[in-house]
């Protein structure tokens, strides 16, 4: 499974390259039937690029506020679209929105995300921007992923979502993606993958193999990952962002379901319907997937003082804790 995931990460990039010339700029209305696939594809691409842009900027320099605002508006717009499309399934909204029981983890993670998105603009000003960023940033992606790959999981928290309703229908976009995936050569080695990615893959493999055992291990894993995270929070400088700490153990928010529209496609080939992983197993992997999704769009190599690199090493640690136990 881990290998497949890696391949998907690559596939994300390839799909962008292939469709770049044909699609870009010529955005068609979402209502145009035949081009819905390309539209969704482009939306996903732009979404990924936008996230990359928010995270990648020269360290120590203040990012241009204008650029940040424009990119945020872009993400907001895409989110708005997804929301509208999501509203076709009212079950989700009515069940998830009012309850929206954000776990403590999620709340804690929010400042980290806003910091990540606009790391340096006037702390006094930007701390307050948290909700904006957090609703747009990987928190939702991660949780979405959790959601996608762990439908069979019984959530620890007071889950209000009816499990059957979550099952995303394999839409035309997903199947199109699958076709693209089939065209892509499957990498047989993970050499090219970042160390952490490989580790994540290994972890994923493990979790698949040991899926039966993992249920038993779950409570411990949860505990450990939590503690290690809080430890990280304490020991690391303020600039550190713990992407894995977002509420992957908590309940799904509205965004989760909404973002499922785009992101589940990334994992459709995954035995989504028969996912047996547990929340504790899957969540760190999902964080890594995000990294892989983002990595191809990075124009610069990740430098040691960029948040993700740190995340990767810490992810490794968490992974070791989870897998090794």
């Amino acid at each position: 499974m881990g290998v497949q995931r890696y391949m998907l990460g690559k596939g994300g990039k390839r799909k962008f390259d292939e469709h770049e010339d044909g699609l870009e700029g010529k955005v068609v209305s979402p209502t145009d039937g035949p081009s819905k696939v390309s539209y969704t594809l482009q939306r996903q691409t732009i979404f990924n690029i936008s996230l990359m842009k928010l995270y990648n900027h020269r360290p120590l320099t203040e990012p241009s506020l204008q650029k940040t605002v424009l990119i945020n508006n872009m993400l907001r717009r895409i989110q708005e679209e997804l929301k509208q499309e999501g509203s076709l399934r009212p079950v989700f909204i009515t069940t998830s929105q009012p309850t929206d029981p954000l776990g403590d983890n999620f709340r804690e993670a929010q400042p980290a995300f806003s910091h990540l998105a606009s790391p340096s603009i006037h702390p006094t000003d930007f701390v307050s921007t948290t909700p904006l960023e957090s609703c747009l940033t990987p928190a939702s992606l991660l949780e979405d992923d959790t959601f996608c790959t762990s439908q069979t999981v019984q959530h620890d928290g007071p889950t209000k979502l009816p499990p059957p309703a979550i099952q995303p229908v394999k839409d035309s976009f997903s199947s199109a993606l699958d076709e693209i995936e089939e065209l892509c050569p499957t990498p047989t080695s993970t050499e090219a993958v970042a160390v952490a990615a490989a580790a994540a893959a290994a972890a994923a493999e493990d979790s698949k193999e040991n899926s039966s055992e993992s249920n038993i291990q779950k409570p411990e894993g949860v505990q450990e990952s939590r503690t290690s995270e809080s430890k990280l929070m304490d020991s690391l400088p303020g600039n550190f962002e713990i992407t894995t700490s977002t509420g992957f153990l908590t309940d799904l928010t509205l965004d989760d379901i909404l973002f499922a529209d785009i992101d589940t496609s990334m994992y459709d080939f995954d035995p989504c319907t028969s996912a047996t992983g547990t929340a504790s197993k899957m969540a760190p992997v999902s964080a890594d997937d995000l990294l892989k999704t983002l990595a191809p769009y990075s124009s610069q190599p990740v430098t040691p003082n960029q948040p993700f690199k740190m995340d990767l090493t810490e992810l490794d640690h968490i992974m070791e804790v989870l897998v090794g136990s």
Partner: protein
């Protein structure tokens, strides 16, 4: 035509170009915080080819890199804007700004020096008093021209965000500085106080969806100014209405064309520059793909819209990915407000004649332009048909961009900043050179 350039280094990238009010001087600022001033040589009958050429007059370091220790952020020394003050006496003055700090510089000439002091020697050292046997009257002796640049005022701590524009008021006493969210009004003689005249910072920064991108005073009415936004709108404000101009007097906005709607609609509509015409009747705005002329009396739509490089419309996704879509192109009026000019990629710049509606693409490059050569119009071809010398869209160099241009206030002389090169072109009609 003149070309000024250095060996290429990032610090040499020209970040602003500005003629003074007579056109005699031209100032450039660069990423390294330097200001270079060029002076037009006086016309001379003996050297017909030397007349009117611009030569380096003075160079000085305006801003230095700084570090904000509270926020752990570098403050770049890059000169964002230069504005000349109307000349009041023999000295010239200009304002230069980086992201945070505005400085007023005085440029003076000295071509004489006093000689024959009683107590000081030539180098200014005190003489041994025992050697002083007679008194003399010091005299001024001519010397080689020396240009002295001195910092007169430093306007610091007025901006939390990045300063994108400065504009000197027609009252010649005040100027304004605009950052992403606020506009401040300063008195040129007072550095420790400024008045906030626009503040669009929402109480909650999560509600922030729009920023100020450029701002300018009206050329004749000292109470009027305009500012542009990242959503493509222009707001004209009247300072007589209230001290804090949060409510605009007029809002200039064009409804979005539904046929061109895309994910990038907002980004490409973001206004990167706004300039009043010399007459004060019109405003010129530049967004990513077009330049527009607005009549101050018509808020609903621009009176003229010119496509700068519409062929990029199909490339927006790539341009978003490589950040080019955020490039801030400037625009300029000619002296009579009849022609407008703006930059593009591949070292191309565009001119639009408002009367004949003719437009031309010219290239600023060393290869194609020798001194006194005539610029050849260039064409970018879009479809399959490609004429000789045409450039295809795919071979455009997006690293070579002309963001900053300036037009002489009265004559047909233009200054084009192409990365680290400054090109000065002159119309052949005015003289026998180009």
């Amino acid at each position: 035509m003149s070309v000024f350039s250095h060996f290429f280094s990032p610090a040499d990238i020209i970040s602003t170009v500005e003629f003074n009010h007579t056109g005699e001087l031209l100032a450039t600022g660069d990423k390294g915080g330097r200001v270079v001033i060029f002076q037009r040589e006086p016309e001379s009958k003996n050297e017909p080819y030397n007349q009117g050429e611009y030569n380096v007059y003075s160079t000085f370091q305006s801003h230095e890199p700084e570090f904000d220790y509270l926020k752990s952020l570098e403050i770049e020394e890059k000169i964002n804007k230069i504005k000349w003050l109307p000349q009041q006496n023999a000295a010239h003055s200009l304002l230069s700004t980086n992201d945070k700090t505005i400085k007023l510089w005085k440029i003076t000439e000295r071509d004489k020096r006093p000689e024959g002091y009683n107590l000081k020697d030539e180098e200014g050292k005190l003489k041994d008093l025992s050697t002083v046997t007679s008194l003399q009257v010091p005299v001024l002796k001519p010397m080689d021209l020396m240009v002295e640049v001195t910092p007169r005022r430093i306007f610091a701590n007025g901006h939390t965000y990045h300063v994108n524009s400065i504009s000197v008021n027609s009252d010649c006493e005040t100027y304004m500085s605009a950052d992403d969210l606020r506009i401040n009004l300063w008195h040129l003689a007072i550095t420790d106080r400024s008045f906030n005249i626009v503040d669009i910072k929402p109480a909650n920064m999560e509600d922030l969806t729009e920023v100020i991108t450029a701002s300018e005073f009206h050329p004749h009415h000292c109470n009027l100014f305009v500012y542009s936004s990242s959503k493509g709108s222009l707001r004209l404000c009247d300072m007589r209405a209230s001290a804090l101009c949060d409510k605009h007097s007029k809002l200039y906005e064009e409804p979005e064309d539904p046929s061109n709607r895309s994910f990038f609609s907002e980004i490409i509509s973001s206004v990167s520059d706004v300039k009043f015409s010399h007459s004060g009747r019109y405003m010129l705005t530049r967004d990513y793909l077009t330049v527009k002329v607005w009549d101050l009396n018509m808020e609903t739509k621009p009176v003229e819209t010119y496509q700068v490089h519409d062929y990029l419309r199909s490339k927006l996704c790539s341009l978003y990915e490589n950040d080019c879509i955020f490039d801030k192109f400037e625009c300029a009026w000619n002296g009579s407000d009849s022609v407008i000019m703006t930059g593009a990629y591949n070292n191309f710049f565009r001119m639009f004649d408002r009367n004949t509606k003719r437009d031309v693409t010219l290239e600023a490059s060393r290869e194609s332009s020798k001194p006194r050569a005539i610029l050849k119009p260039r064409r970018v071809c879009v479809g399959g048909k490609r004429r000789k010398d045409d450039i295809s869209v795919d071979s455009l160099d997006f690293m070579k961009k002309i963001l900053h241009t300036a037009w002489h206030p009265t004559e047909n002389i233009i200054a084009i900043a192409a990365t680290n090169n400054l090109y000065i072109f002159q119309d052949k009609v005015n003289s026998e050179m180009h």
